[in-house]
Point group: D2
Chain length 344, copies 4
Amino acid sequence: MGDMSFISDNQAGVHPSVLERLQSLSRGSAAGYGEDQWTAEAESAVQRVFETDCAVFFVSTGTAANALALSALSPPWGAIYCHDGAHICNDENTAVEFYTGGARLVGVSGLAGKPDVNTMRAHMEIATVHGVHNAKPAVISLSNVTESGTVYSAHEIAPYRDLADTFGLRLHMDGARFANAVVSSGATPAALTWQSGVDCLSFGLTKDGGIAAEAVVIFDHALAEEFAYRRKRAGHLWSKHRFLAAQWLALLEGDLWLDNARHANAMAQRLAEAFGDHDSIDLPWAVDANEIFPVIPEQLRDGLRQAGLEFYDWPARPDMTRFVTSFNTEAAAVDQAIAIIAGA
Amino acid sequence: MGDMSFISDNQAGVHPSVLERLQSLSRGSAAGYGEDQWTAEAESAVQRVFETDCAVFFVSTGTAANALALSALSPPWGAIYCHDGAHICNDENTAVEFYTGGARLVGVSGLAGKPDVNTMRAHMEIATVHGVHNAKPAVISLSNVTESGTVYSAHEIAPYRDLADTFGLRLHMDGARFANAVVSSGATPAALTWQSGVDCLSFGLTKDGGIAAEAVVIFDHALAEEFAYRRKRAGHLWSKHRFLAAQWLALLEGDLWLDNARHANAMAQRLAEAFGDHDSIDLPWAVDANEIFPVIPEQLRDGLRQAGLEFYDWPARPDMTRFVTSFNTEAAAVDQAIAIIAGA
Amino acid sequence: MGDMSFISDNQAGVHPSVLERLQSLSRGSAAGYGEDQWTAEAESAVQRVFETDCAVFFVSTGTAANALALSALSPPWGAIYCHDGAHICNDENTAVEFYTGGARLVGVSGLAGKPDVNTMRAHMEIATVHGVHNAKPAVISLSNVTESGTVYSAHEIAPYRDLADTFGLRLHMDGARFANAVVSSGATPAALTWQSGVDCLSFGLTKDGGIAAEAVVIFDHALAEEFAYRRKRAGHLWSKHRFLAAQWLALLEGDLWLDNARHANAMAQRLAEAFGDHDSIDLPWAVDANEIFPVIPEQLRDGLRQAGLEFYDWPARPDMTRFVTSFNTEAAAVDQAIAIIAGA
Amino acid sequence: MGDMSFISDNQAGVHPSVLERLQSLSRGSAAGYGEDQWTAEAESAVQRVFETDCAVFFVSTGTAANALALSALSPPWGAIYCHDGAHICNDENTAVEFYTGGARLVGVSGLAGKPDVNTMRAHMEIATVHGVHNAKPAVISLSNVTESGTVYSAHEIAPYRDLADTFGLRLHMDGARFANAVVSSGATPAALTWQSGVDCLSFGLTKDGGIAAEAVVIFDHALAEEFAYRRKRAGHLWSKHRFLAAQWLALLEGDLWLDNARHANAMAQRLAEAFGDHDSIDLPWAVDANEIFPVIPEQLRDGLRQAGLEFYDWPARPDMTRFVTSFNTEAAAVDQAIAIIAGA
């Protein structure tokens, strides 16, 4: 029986190309702290992905990437607007508060992981009137892929950018599964980010085949100026930095990162169809990427688990479960899972 | 010609055993965020090294280890006493201030990297009298190996512990090169830490053959209680945590970490003798571990560099240079270097 | 025409007794930074009010009192639960985040300014299960008088204390209008605080006749131990500290603070009746203290304002207004206001 | 016998004009949080003092003024250079670290309270070379009057401004006794600040006759832009703000603040002569303002104290004492003190 764990793509292993690249850099000396040639090459590779000379800072976790990014975008007295189910709001402890020096996350509700623009605007209007007594509207943070597994098109990002412009805010994107969003939307990385007015992207490839491969990508160079100081004082500048860079070189080469995401998305599609075909299972949210959130009755869940399926009960909605596919989910395992679901 | 870079042991590569272990864990799924079996095994391995059930937290940089450790030992209004040449004071930006919420480093001078105990006591006496108007004495931080390449014996740690007891302080040890100190002193890891009154150790194996292998080792469990929250909010809890643990499993197995350090120390000894034999070169500090700080006249330096030697000019003392050996410094390269030095 | 400003009790003047006391201490020298005899006397006076040897720290603003208090009760990774209309949540910028080093406020909805206990519990349950990934439940903060002008009895505080005990939290009370709550409830200060399990009170007399008279009152001495360091580093320890103490001596003497509050509450009662008698005006919340929140149609508001009444449009509910009385609201002005309301 | 306390000018009382002004504003209502007319008037009065449209923010302590000012001038990773005896370094706990989010104070030695420019430059050079590994040079902070009672002329400020320009730093002045410096130097407030390149001044009148009268005066408007948010979230925005403003209106009117300082300085001059005339007493530092630091043998100190003189033993130099005069030091008390000194 194949591996039928669909708990999370951060439980997946590492793509062989990543390990090979680590191996190839493991002998001999190299300058430390990002002064080596491979770091420079990896930064260039990211710039090619985005078709612009963005500033790139590699770090080892998505929480670090998000918190560092937001600390560059918001003053300590800023309000950061995001979906109330966002990862920065629910799964990263108080990292944002720590890194920003005390900014405030304002969770905004909205369908399928996308915060309602009008509700957001209402928050900003009150805050603006109230002046120094309130946190100052500073940043909108969107997740693409969202925490509900849906994907923003460039078109859908526009109203948030408009709102940000109206009130003088920055726009951040949490791209922990950015590869899956790119593949799903069919848009270019540029179109989904700076061409849509995104100022800064947390770009994650850990889930997409890396070990610890996250980056802060800053499109507005004024914001990047002192970012290196932020990373250093947070303890996120590796001494043997080439081993962060190596992961990026491996995954970006030949668009492996997109192939990996394409596979994961395809596996999720197939699984989603099986859920959709089942009379007792509901799929409230579109399956745009590699995450599926089926509503499964309690008894049925037990059956699936006894048959070997592993998945997550969604804490924010007790009736909901989450299945995630990854770059190394095997088609055979998905076939098996589909058969189990169909027979349940 | 072999690799004659003696710039820093953090420029060294990775030990093959570490890569093998990464490889062996790279397929299949595993629980994330340190909930996997390999993390548990690696923690146990560290506990065996210290012969006690210490709390162990793996992170990816020495700066993170130090800053997190000190944040658990000092209140935001605390004073942290260290040598004025210490790494936390000169090479980690304001990480300590950031993580502690604003504690203050008090640099104390002293010979060969070891802060003068009497000067330290005088600082504490003034601060204590001055009450809330001053930072409150909170922590003594010692580096072993020191930033001057010297090593503390257990016997030498005692007066700092006595001082800490007198004023109610905690004792921290920065062990970025702890393996080299253990090998050099001949003492056990336990003797150099908790048996000498060290409350918390930053234990680094990155320089000793790892990729990003640092740990906070806490001997007083009361201090460890909420440490996991600190690490998480700092973005230092890896999702694919088993790849941090794997490095420790590889390096601690069969005491590879000590063999690596023994080699590095031996290479430094040989190099030090060559410097000692040269009429125009002075060695002001004992070469206890894998670092050598020769005073070399300007012209002689140029000659060494032209002959292929790579080393660091020591910023704090313009007349001084630094040579560092590592686990993978080749004996042949050292022979070559010795010949160059002798002939210079 | 009398002063018909009902905008806020923090717009009121200063009670003559306070000024007399300042005057009496204004000549001659005295020890600075709270080492003077009047500070000691004022601290004792507060202890007598609460019938216990609580720790007392005077500061000059309510925001400082709240933020300092919460920083002593919550770790930087803590969650602080309060009503979603609470002052700490809406009117004190990000002071709580700043002082706590990044703790998170969790606003909980509930009727008439009192957060719903079951909703609060649900938040804590999810956070507890989610471990380090979430802010750790740390404090419940209640406002008495609430931001809706209602008052908690001791009986009503009990369920929050029970909840705090279940999950290991601290209980804080924002008493910016504590005098009005004491007078309204008929309970003793002790009964409303430590006897109900309140660990720490922000006790304000600025609105009750002082100039800048706020205090943090800590009932658990373990929490108070290093509080003096917090206050000092926040710049809230006055050098000429006796002029903070003087305000407390004046207001607590002969229970002037309660007389002032009794007057303010009585004036609000009379005004509330006038609103209640008006057919087009609704009073959704009980008028327990010195604040009234009438729902007044737009056109009617204009009339009241043209007739000389000054009041606040409530930002959180556009249909609502706020009228506040104070220690120096004149009965004649209230009579006039009543006549205006009746005739409108 | 008159009041012969020369311990500190922050132990002095309050000038009658200040109390009268408080009294005159104590009746009736006024807009809160600095939106009242008196605050506007007081801000204008400060602008007239400096002959420029500087931004002015009133707060209640000198520590708050310094820490808030420096937080606007330095990033969290900044280095702030000051004399190693400066108040911000020794007497304000870790307020600077707290407010700046973790910047570092670098104490620089120098004669009579003035940091050595060349030593300062050497620090900056090393820090600049070391890049992100070091705190980034950000601010020079000078105290005028210095902590040694000496005064900078405009001419003496120039080399610090030059240094700041070379390395791109801001220049801050701690003016807790600015009035005494103005009177002593004979220069205008403008000449001693923005005309000498000072970006921001902590301007204190508490010691000069106020109760709690401190201000942050910002000469570069770009720095002032979000300062109001800083003050608010620190809990330093008073609700009854007119009572801060009232103190400034009283003290600036008719140059009372300068008359007060002139008196204090004159009293110090007379006392200094008495010390200078005594064979066993040494005055190592010039008495430029209202502070005297005589070196007095132990036995002689006892005699002075038994005769009724009160003064401070200087903690940083055990052989030294400090005498401070103030706006309300009586000439008769000084006569008496002089007689005691002469006879000792």
